[in-house]
């Protein structure tokens, strides 16, 4: 079967972001960018399905600026077969991304679409579910285990109280949780080979979709800073402070 994987270019997870002085957003100039960690897990899962002989082709797609080609090349180096970039200059909402992905799904007809459960920049946790509604496919969100059984998919999901297992009819959508797998590193020969793999660039217009959003960001502020705390010298002092100063025990 064909597997479609969506990846996003985001600020590297180790970067401590700074809010711009004019409160218009987060300062991303000269900041290290990477593939969203949940998307890496999605790519890894697709590549593993290919290695098991379940998947025949892994297509990786990104919606974003032209620099997102770097993240697509990374996915190709990890084992994806070809890439598609839907190029947009401005930041697009989850709904617009889901609509772009729906257009790509219509074109490519994958049996399985794998996405990360959330992007670590916007923290929305929406795109996979929205694609589910738009395409009519069932969804297995926050997956920590995925098994293909004939024309069905068995997905174990991380829920608030523990784990839940659901069966989905293919074609279906999976969004990855952190514990689904441990992504591999790309080797140098594979990085070189990835440069030769096909990468197609499309525009939202060519897909017939609009990226307009009904949500406008008015301002972005730094969260309230916590006052500096103190170091206590002993457990006795800690208990005394918690009882008499903070009054929380």
């Amino acid at each position: 079967m064909k597997v479609l994987v969506a990846v996003k270019r985001v600020v590297d997870y180790n970067v401590k972001v700074r809010v711009k002085a004019d409160n218009s957003g987060v300062d991303l100039a000269n900041v290290k960018m990477s593939m969203n960690p949940f998307c890496e897990i999605a790519v890894e899962e697709a590549v593993r399905l290919k290695e098991k002989g379940v998947a025949t082709e892994v297509v990786v797609v990104s919606i974003g600026p032209s620099q997102a080609q770097e993240q697509l090349r990374t996915a190709l180096a990890l084992g994806a077969d070809r890439g598609i970039l839907v190029e947009t200059a401005e930041e697009v909402s989850s709904l617009a991304v889901a609509k772009a992905l729906k257009a790509v799904v219509d074109k490519e007809q994958p049996q399985l679409v794998i996405l990360g459960k959330q992007a670590i920049d916007t923290d929305n946790n929406q795109t996979g579910q929205m694609l589910g509604a738009l395409s009519g496919m069932p969804q297995g969100t926050f997956a920590s285990r995925v098994e293909v059984e004939g024309d069905a998919l068995k997905v174990t999901r991380e829920i608030d109280g523990g784990l839940q297992t659901v069966a989905l009819k293919l074609p279906a959508i999976v969004t990855t949780d952190l514990r689904l797998n441990e992504p591999r590193y790309a080797s140098l020969p594979n990085i070189m080979k990835a440069k030769k793999k096909p990468l197609e660039t499309l525009s939202p217009d060519a897909l017939g979709i609009s990226v307009a959003s009904s949500v406008k960001t008015l301002k972005v502020e730094a969260p309230a800073a916590r006052g500096a705390g103190i170091k206590v010298a002993s457990v006795a002092e800690l208990v005394e402070k918690l009882k008499n100063e903070a009054k929380v025990i």
């Binding site: 579910q129 297992t165 009819k169 514990r179 009904s214 949500v215 103190i230 800690l238």
Partner: protein
């Protein structure tokens, strides 16, 4: 303007997160209706009718809604939702699962995990793992919103007397089915709602050592949490994880034991009222947010702390 709040419930009882969501709805203003979807949810609907400030409860009772499968629930909610100005649900794993599907069916953007209401169309929400707070304005006809429950104080569970009305939807979509679940059992308070949380990290070294935290937690009436490192190392189950990708908590007292304090962990607990850190590495970033820090070996400090309570 009428706001629809989708009730969160498990095992035939309302989950407290619903009360925080109603509080967010009150800040938006207008009438508040609560929708209870599930199988055998009469008792839940009656409970929801008693919530202060709720004017009507709508109940959809059908075997197809038993396990909250989003393929079955989203069409029902989207169908009813067209009558409302706002649709709200707590940002639990269940709410996060079906609400974006509702939004896409209604062809509107969703606003995830709001922590504040500025007006009926303007909301505050954290981005970049809580390192920035965005104020967003929505021009959508129907605002589909998930609510970070720690951002709103719960309304009273008693005092209301709303009427319960039965509604029905399309039922089973036939696209998905429930296979089974494995729930972690615990007598301790629920992590997301606990007044005191004791969390352990990689410094605990193994799962066996978490017993020190369990006995400290029992003395404090606390819930026990964990960092991603402790979960990934297999010390504790993943539903105990606190952080950007786990649960968000804001208790009165958060005690971080053997946790370095990575950005992703802080995202889940830095709104706690008082933070205590016990760590032997005095350079650990957790000390930058801790109100009280103790540089000590946790295997000596934790038992001593338990004894002195």
């Amino acid at each position: 303007m009428t706001v629809l709040v989708i009730a969160e419930h498990t095992n035939g009882a309302l989950v407290p997160a619903t009360l925080n969501t109603v509080a967010a709805a009150q800040q938006i203003g207008g009438d508040i209706h609560v929708l209870v979807v599930g199988e055998g949810v009469n008792a839940v609907a009656e409970e929801a009718a008693k919530i202060a400030g709720v004017s009507k409860v709508r109940m959809a009772d059908d075997a197809a809604y038993a396990h909250q499968l989003p393929e079955n629930i989203a069409p029902l909610v989207a169908g009813l939702g067209a009558e409302y100005s706002h649709i709200l649900c707590a940002a639990t794993t269940n709410g996060k699962n079906f609400m974006p599907r509702v939004a896409a069916q209604l062809d509107v953007d969703q606003i995830s995990e709001i922590i504040g209401v500025d007006s009926a169309d303007t909301f505050k929400r954290p981005i970049y793992a809580g390192n920035a707070i965005a104020t967003v304005q929505s021009s959508a006809a129907i605002k589909v919103i998930t609510v970070r429950t720690t951002g709103f104080d719960a309304v009273a569970a008693e005092g209301g007397s709303a009427a319960v009305e039965t509604v029905s939807g399309a039922g089973d979509s036939g696209k998905s089915s429930f296979v089974g679940e494995e729930l972690a059992k615990s007598d301790r308070p629920e992590l997301a709602a606990a007044k005191v949380v004791v969390s352990g990290g990689r410094g605990m070294q193994n799962g066996e050592n978490f017993k020190h935290l369990y006995s400290l937690a029992d003395k404090l009436g606390a819930a026990v949490g964990a960092s991603r490192a402790a979960v990934d190392a297999g010390f504790v189950p993943n539903d105990m994880q606190v952080g950007q990708t786990g649960k968000i908590v804001a208790p009165q007292l958060y005690i971080a034991v053997g946790i370095s304090g990575a950005i992703q962990h802080l995202a889940g607990m830095k709104d706690s009222k008082v933070i205590v850190a016990i760590n032997k590495d005095e350079e650990a970033p957790i000390f930058q947010v801790a109100d009280y820090g103790l540089v000590a070996d946790l295997f000596e400090a934790v038992p001593e702390l338990e004894k002195s309570l």
